[in-house]
Amino acid sequence: MYIHELSNTDVARLLRGPGVRARMGPFVFGMKTSLSQLVDPIHLLYANYPLEPEEDFIDFEVAVSPRSWRERWLSRNASFIIDGEVPSFPSFERSLALPMFEWAVNWCVFTRPHQYLILHSAVVERNGHAVILPGQPGAGKSTLCAGLSLRGWRLLSDEVCVMRPPCIDLIPVPRPIGLKEESINVIRAFEPGVVMGPATPGTRKGTVAHIQVDAKSVAAGQVSAKPRLIVFPSYRAGVGLSLEPISKAQTLLRIAQDAFNFSVLGAQGFDNLAALVDASDCFALTYSSMDQAIEKLNELIELEPTQPKNEMTHHNNSGPRANAEVMA
């Protein structure tokens, strides 16, 4: 039973009661809210996920709801409630409920599953080869990731690059892609058929909207991908496309800087990141035309690796255990 097969009333009932349960890669989320304004957007954005059975273990339960009579009747605000607890974040206006809900789900992935190494970047895949798109907020990683996923690439995530040490296979956590400000119109113009949730103005990052996750990416949610390229995208209006190689050392430092749990994993995290960078060709991509950028990445992903893959990558193909021995 897919979520799009449920009626709106059913979704509303589940959100108020036991939760809408969806598996996003390795994690099953239970999504709850008492706010009726969230029923339609959640129904739309998660339409392509199967509904997980109620008697299963859920990894994270995320609710966005007023948590006290004061919030319910006076301030008209809402709060996150994650696994029955209210993390120490201030409450927010209900008009922001959708982006806050999406952020709360991401927060669970950013801060909890330390059995994985979690980097901050988008990941997309074509023909079994993945491109990692790290980047500071505003560099255009989500926009490029959205563009690629609308042109046949599979979405692994627009926020996190997830690996299970000592293995460097990339684990998908498919979730709605968050776009902000001009990117929303850029993507609407790029692909008029795109399915997008409502735009929410007034967040700290301006207007925000989310793209529905396509059925193909949801269905492949348990299938990992091999890393092939690490590309730092940077959108600059009016410039021609340029692709510059970056050294592996520099790539490693830039990625580590922005990781979510690099220090939790210690040496294991470092070794894993080093193995990832070793296995990938690393570039900086500056572009103003999305079509050109996508064409370039289509081209790059088909090429043979520019340098022979080293020992560690080779061993990766024979599975996690072989890799563990190399790491040890």
Partner: protein
């Protein structure tokens, strides 16, 4: 938990911690409850350790096991960080010419005791003789530890009434270090003589330095008991109770002469250090809630010396049960917050004379009212990364 639970039955956190052997038969909804309970009481890493020690990893649902593995990763990080901080503290104070005693979590980790496995540790606690504490502060300052930003009232509160310097934080590494000269506040009703603690302190296995020590096993237990039942408000209660459980099991295990001597001397040592009351509570609640094997003779002896007058024990039983074990379901167990508040007031009552207490609680309440920002919160780079990714 010797028989498998029915899938709808509520699951008991303490049973799970005491005996993880029936965990593989828990249902999905029962795991949902248990994982949440361990999160709320910060005991997931301890459960994870006990599950792996019992060889049960392979028998759990891999998705459930993943949560335990994640908490083990965090506990390992804490061990790594604490070991390095301790190494730096030893570099700064080891050759100062007086004893340096590592307390609580840092001691458990450095000596690789079972209490240190699967334990989350936020600060490093050390104790130096009171006459040397100014020297220690200077040396630590030179090595990069600086006082955390506190307002004048808090500074005075620590220096005048407490048993420690205001907390120090390392400039570069941001680790927090508490420097004590005794184990309970000087304003309090119970005043264990620190000289006796220093005299009995023992070397830390694995650390080859003549002046770097930890408390003797009985003193370590008395300190933990004093901290939990006298000093703190049971807020981190279950973790401390689990410490006591591990410490008592480690010191008292077996039928050999050593453990016999430990049990024979524990209560009298408690009396000698003026800590027989917290020891009574520690033995009562560990044996009652965590089934810690305390010999009946020792329980009887500690009742005779440390049990308060009726109806205090009955009230403490009611309060402690509620404060240690939160409700499994969504709702709060009746009275859990009230119990915690009463224990908070009690812990201060034990710590200060009544007039000072009234003033202190008044000030704290005023400040909460004025919503003073907590300046002591330290954020790591990675927490900032998460913050930076917030949308609104």
């Amino acid at each position: 938990m010797t028989t498998p639970l029915k899938t709808s039955q509520p699951v008991h956190l303490l049973d799970a911690l005491n005996d993880p052997s029936s965990l593989p038969s828990l249902s999905g909804p029962q795991w949902n409850q248990l994982i949440r309970l361990t999160r709320r009481t910060k005991s997931m890493a301890k459960l994870a350790h006990r599950v792996s020690a019992a060889g049960l990893d392979d028998q759990l649902d891999p998705r459930v096991l993943d949560h335990l593995l994640a908490s083990r990763a965090v506990a390992n990080q804490h061990r790594r960080v604490v070991s390095w901080e301790a190494d730096r503290v030893i570099a700064a104070l080891g050759d100062a010419g007086y004893d340096l005693i590592f307390l609580k979590g840092a001691a458990y980790v450095l000596s690789d005791m079972s209490a240190g496995h699967g334990r989350l540790i936020s600060d490093v606690d050390i104790m130096v003789p009171k006459v040397n504490i100014d020297d220690a502060e200077l040396r630590l300052h030179a090595a990069g530890w600086v006082p955390m930003k506190l307002d004048a009232y808090d500074q005075r509160y620590y220096r005048q009434w407490m048993h420690e310097l205001p907390p120090l934080r390392h400039k570069a590494r941001k680790g927090v270090l508490d420097v004590h000269h005794t184990i309970l506040p000087e304003s309090g009703r119970l005043r264990p003589d620190p000289a006796k603690l220093f005299a009995a302190a023992i070397p830390i296995p694995g650390i080859h330095h003549p002046r770097v020590k930890m408390l003797a096993p009985a003193d370590m237990i008395l300190h933990s008991a004093a901290h939990l039942f006298q000093d703190g408000d049971l807020a981190g209660g279950l973790r401390d109770l689990l410490d006591l459980d591990d410490l008592l099991r480690a010191a008292g295990a077996g039928d050999d002469e050593k453990s016999g001597a430990f049990w024979r001397s524990l209560v009298s040592r408690g009396k000698e250090l003026d800590l027989h009351r917290p020891l009574y509570y520690a033995l009562r609640f560990t044996s009652r809630l965590l089934r810690t094997p305390v010999p009946q003779a020792v329980l009887d002896e500690s009742s005779r010396t440390g049990k308060p007058m009726a109806p205090v024990p009955m009230i403490m039983d009611l309060l402690a049960d509620r404060a240690f074990v939160p409700d499994a379901g969504q709702g709060k167990r009746w009275g859990a917050s009230l119990a915690r508040w009463m224990l908070y007031v009690r812990s201060h009552w034990l710590r200060m004379p009544p007039l000072l207490l009234a003033q202190h609680l008044g000030k704290k309440a005023m400040r909460r009212f004025q919503k003073v920002e907590d300046e002591t919160a330290v954020k790591t780079k990675e927490e900032k990364n998460v913050d930076a990714k917030r949308l609104a």
